[in-house]
């Protein structure tokens, strides 16, 4: 490799993250580099722990888009250049989800926020000029709103500090018309050569080829030197670099054999796995071969020692210390503005119906919270310990004596299920409306070899 910068070389070995081997601490974890491009004044890029680099406002609030989606009985979301999130106060459901009709009064209707209260638009100054992919579009209220790649930009009331991404995810699991029109964070393109992409999966920002084959590294390679030849190369296909490719930043090119050049990332030669299942996106299966690891531009932080990973019927799930599978509660309501209903500061009516037929006491038995150990704390912004009022399921008041200290992911409590008896049981998975995607519980998958629950 001829042009790799010395600084990059020095950080290589420790920075490469493999398989589901999470970073020991979030501070030591590598961060994804991104393509620099012009941005409007007041917009910046913030590194986030789970979603990589994301656009944010000057005060660090993550930016989201709300892509248009066709639901069962209608559609919701923004088309390019057409913001639809307004100050209208929806008190009734819209009937967008089969089989239920619209016209019913929403839970906690009197305190339900408007779309712009929950998702404040990112306003652009009058007369703002376009900047690269950034354009100013007209909001229905008359003001101008920034859009990126055509989609109007919003912040989330659920984000409190820079790096928070509590309003949505770039992951594709639990997405589609069953789960409603969801918001997703937006960031700059990853700094990868042509022919590579970065895919958001549960274990991190996964490096893959453009045709979505996962990329691997091998322990027996040396720094910037491949030792994988002959039989090794039968199963592990070097990712070749074209003749005109040049090293840049964390990316290098090595001469594998005369005339054959191979990409390296952070000093590690890159391969795809010839035995990966055909058509399976972002597979982690090659990491089962000893010495071989998936490659991430940045790994997902592992929550804490209060958690473990357990093998289940199709992959690995997050579990508590005793091996009980961890569940997240999903909820999007059925008003035109498709608001989240799975947050402890918002209505609890949906969750209570599903886990307790209206009873918080019953919910505490069917899907109990994951209590945090006494000294538990998180070293990343995705996981936290929060105080929950056990009588209501809402966030507890400061100093509330009977509050429960529970683990939360993206500012929402996580749960176990009364149905699970053995490590790896996933009997609570898909419990709720539309297979747990619309209003219900889904296991937190870290790897799924048969479906896309971890992507």
């Amino acid at each position: 490799m001829r042009h790799l910068r010395k600084a990059s070389v020095l950080t290589l070995a420790a920075a490469l993250v493999a398989g589901a081997a999470f970073a020991q601490t979030q501070k030591s974890a590598p961060k994804e580099q991104y393509q620099r491009a012009p941005m409007p004044a007041g917009i910046q890029v913030v590194q986030t722990d789970e979603e990589g680099p994301l656009f944010a406002t000057a005060d660090g609030k993550t930016l989201y888009q709300w892509p248009f989606i066709q639901l069962r009985n209608g559609d919701a979301g923004d088309q390019k250049g057409k913001p639809t999130c307004t100050d209208a106060l929806f008190k009734e459901n819209a009937g967008l989800m089969s089989p239920y009709p619209g016209g019913f009064i929403m839970p906690d209707a009197d305190t339900r926020l408007s779309c712009v209260q929950l998702w404040p638009p990112v306003w652009a100054p009058d007369g703002a000029a376009n900047v690269g992919k950034w354009t100013a579009v007209k909001h229905p209220g008359g003001k101008m709103q920034w859009a990126y790649d055509g989609y109007p930009m919003y912040t989330s009331l659920l984000d409190k500090k820079p790096g928070d991404v509590n309003g949505g995810t770039r992951r594709r699991a639990n997405r589609g018309n069953a789960s409603g029109a969801q918001r997703e964070p937006v960031g700059p393109p990853a700094l990868v050569p042509p022919g590579f992409i970065v895919i958001q999966v549960a274990t991190g920002r996964l490096l893959a080829t453009a045709d979505r084959q996962s990329v691997y590294s091998w322990d027996r390679d040396a720094l910037n030197k491949s030792n994988c030849f002959d039989r090794c190369a039968d199963e592990w296909t070097p990712v070749t670099a074209p003749e005109f490719a040049e090293a840049q930043g964390e990316w290098g090119v090595i001469q594998r054999s005369p005339g054959v050049r191979q990409w390296t990332f952070r000093g590690k030669p890159l391969y795809t796995y010839a035995l990966s299942p055909e058509g399976r996106n972002a597979s982690l299966q090659g990491s089962d071969v000893p010495g071989w690891h998936n490659v991430y531009t940045q790994p997902t932080p592992f929550p804490s020692r209060d958690f473990t990973l357990q093998d289940a019927a199709s992959g690995q799930v997050l579990a508590d210390k005793n091996g009980k599978t961890i569940y997240v509660y999903n909820c999007n309501d059925d008003a035109w503005d498709q608001q989240a209903c799975n947050h402890p500061d918002l209505t609890q009516a949906y969750r209570l119906a599903i886990c307790g037929a209206g009873s918080q006491e019953k919910c505490m038995q069917t899907f109990p919270y994951v209590l945090a150990s006494r000294d538990a704390k998180s070293d990343n912004s995705a996981w936290s310990v929060m105080a929950i009022d056990p009588k209501t399921g809402r966030r507890a008041e400061t100093g509330q004596a009977d509050a429960l200290r529970v683990w939360a992911w993206r500012d929402r409590p996580v749960y176990t299920s009364y149905l699970d008896k053995e490590p790896g049981d996933i009997n609570g998975d898909s419990w709720g409306e539309f297979q747990g995607q619309r209003n219900g519980f889904k296991a937190i998958w870290y790897r799924d070899d048969y479906f896309n629950n971890a992507s």
Binding site: P99, P107, D288, A313, S314, A357, S430, F451
Partner: protein, 364 residues
């Protein structure tokens, strides 16, 4: 009974896999041809079709003379929340309905429910008795235990070929490798009559080999055993072959079964038996046993949303009551109430070459 294992060494080593002893019998020309023993005493099959066995006559006139079940989610919801101009809350309507699904033990079920009449049904005599309320197969076998049929037999969703659950189950059975069920019959000296054979259930990990239409799974394919996530599905049974029909001894059986995408699920049967007509290329028959009601109900609702249940007048909360009313096995030691219901899956298999992983991979 032969216990030797044959390895197709050259081919297997080239692929880095131990090719198992699942080799097609030597004499095999048509599906109905009498079969000699497999060359190594072992034959493998792959599950291609699996639906709850429902006895049907044209338009259901014999078994459902009053018509099919008419009260699905839409109909019940409309009856409960009449459009009378009164404003109702989501909690007392939609959320209350969903709560009924997930907590069916609560509340009453006031809706009429139609189940099949008569006593004809597919199934197996699971308890070894011929009781007055047992069923009889269409070809006259008495003592059949299939109470599940009495619950689902007149629900459109479960009836073929148009019931949405009926046809989608098999589509997804084939589409999702998660559902890949293999059975390996070993120790076979005679495919027609053998007093003792071993049957191992395994989970495969590959697609099935289809013909040019894509609709028929053809024999001669291969499938690798999933020992990474599928160890829990390795189950060993014993059985016998009489007049070409394999019957296994009762045993608890769990099969991976994802009815819908992203929803890993399982079918559990207690005291289950395979009853399969074997040919060198196919195996067809029943997997019958006692389904744990709570598990069966959960599997249905995890996989199948209210939206989907609406297309076929399947009301889960109503069905739940009748599952318990008809339950006939595994009484709770404390309450004495039956927790399981006799049931039968109609299953079809096609011959396949089963590829076992090398031992070091299997033990990893």
């Amino acid at each position: 009974m032969k216990k030797t294992t044959h390895f197709a060494a050259a081919l297997g080593l080239m692929a880095g896999l131990a090719i198992s002893a699942s080799t097609a019998p030597r004499a095999a020309s048509s599906n109905d041809a009498p079969a000699a023993a497999p060359v190594n005493g072992v034959i493998g099959y792959i599950l291609t079709d699996e639906v709850w066995a429902v006895y049907q006559t044209p338009e259901g006139k014999q078994e459902c003379p009053e018509g099919l079940n008419a009260w699905g989610p839409r109909e019940q919801f409309k009856k409960m929340f009449v459009d009378d101009g009164k404003k109702r809350t989501l909690e007392e309507a939609q959320l209350a309905w969903e709560a009924k699904i997930w907590h069916p033990e609560l509340g009453e079920d006031p809706f009429p429910f139609r189940g099949p009449v008569g006593n004809v049904s597919y199934g197996v005599n699971l308890d070894g008795r011929v009781d007055a309320d047992d069923q009889i197969t269409p070809d006259g076998v008495k003592g059949i235990d299939n109470q599940l049929y009495r619950a689902i037999g007149c629900i459109e969703e479960f009836r073929g070929p148009t019931g949405i659950l009926h046809f989608l189950v098999n589509r997804y059975l084939r589409d999702f490798e998660f559902n890949r069920v293999l059975i390996e019959i070993s120790g076979v000296e005679d495919m027609v009559n053998d007093p003792h054979v071993d049957v191992t259930i395994l989970r495969g990990r590959d697609r099935m080999m289809a013909d040019a239409t894509g609709n028929d799974i053809i024999p001669g394919g291969s499938n690798r055993v999933d020992m990474r996530w599928g160890k829990k599905y390795v189950q060993r049974l014993t059985g016998k072959i009489v007049d070409g029909v394999l019957t296994t001894q009762p045993s608890d059986v769990t099969l991976p079964h994802a009815i819908f995408n992203q929803i890993p699920g399982e079918d559990h049967m207690k005291g289950a038996v395979f009853q399969l007509k074997l040919t060198p290329e196919r195996a067809e028959g029943l997997l019958a046993g006692y389904s744990d009601i709570d598990n069966w109900y959960r599997q249905l609702n995890h996989s199948w949303s209210t939206h989907h249940q609406s297309y076929g007048q399947l009301s889960s909360p109503s069905l739940y009551k009748h599952l318990h009313r008809l339950a006939d096995g595994y009484p709770d030691p404390k309450t004495g109430k039956n927790t399981a219901i006799s049931s039968a899956l109609a299953v079809k298999f096609t011959q396949v070459f089963i590829q076992h992983p090398p031992k070091e991979v299997a033990s990893r």
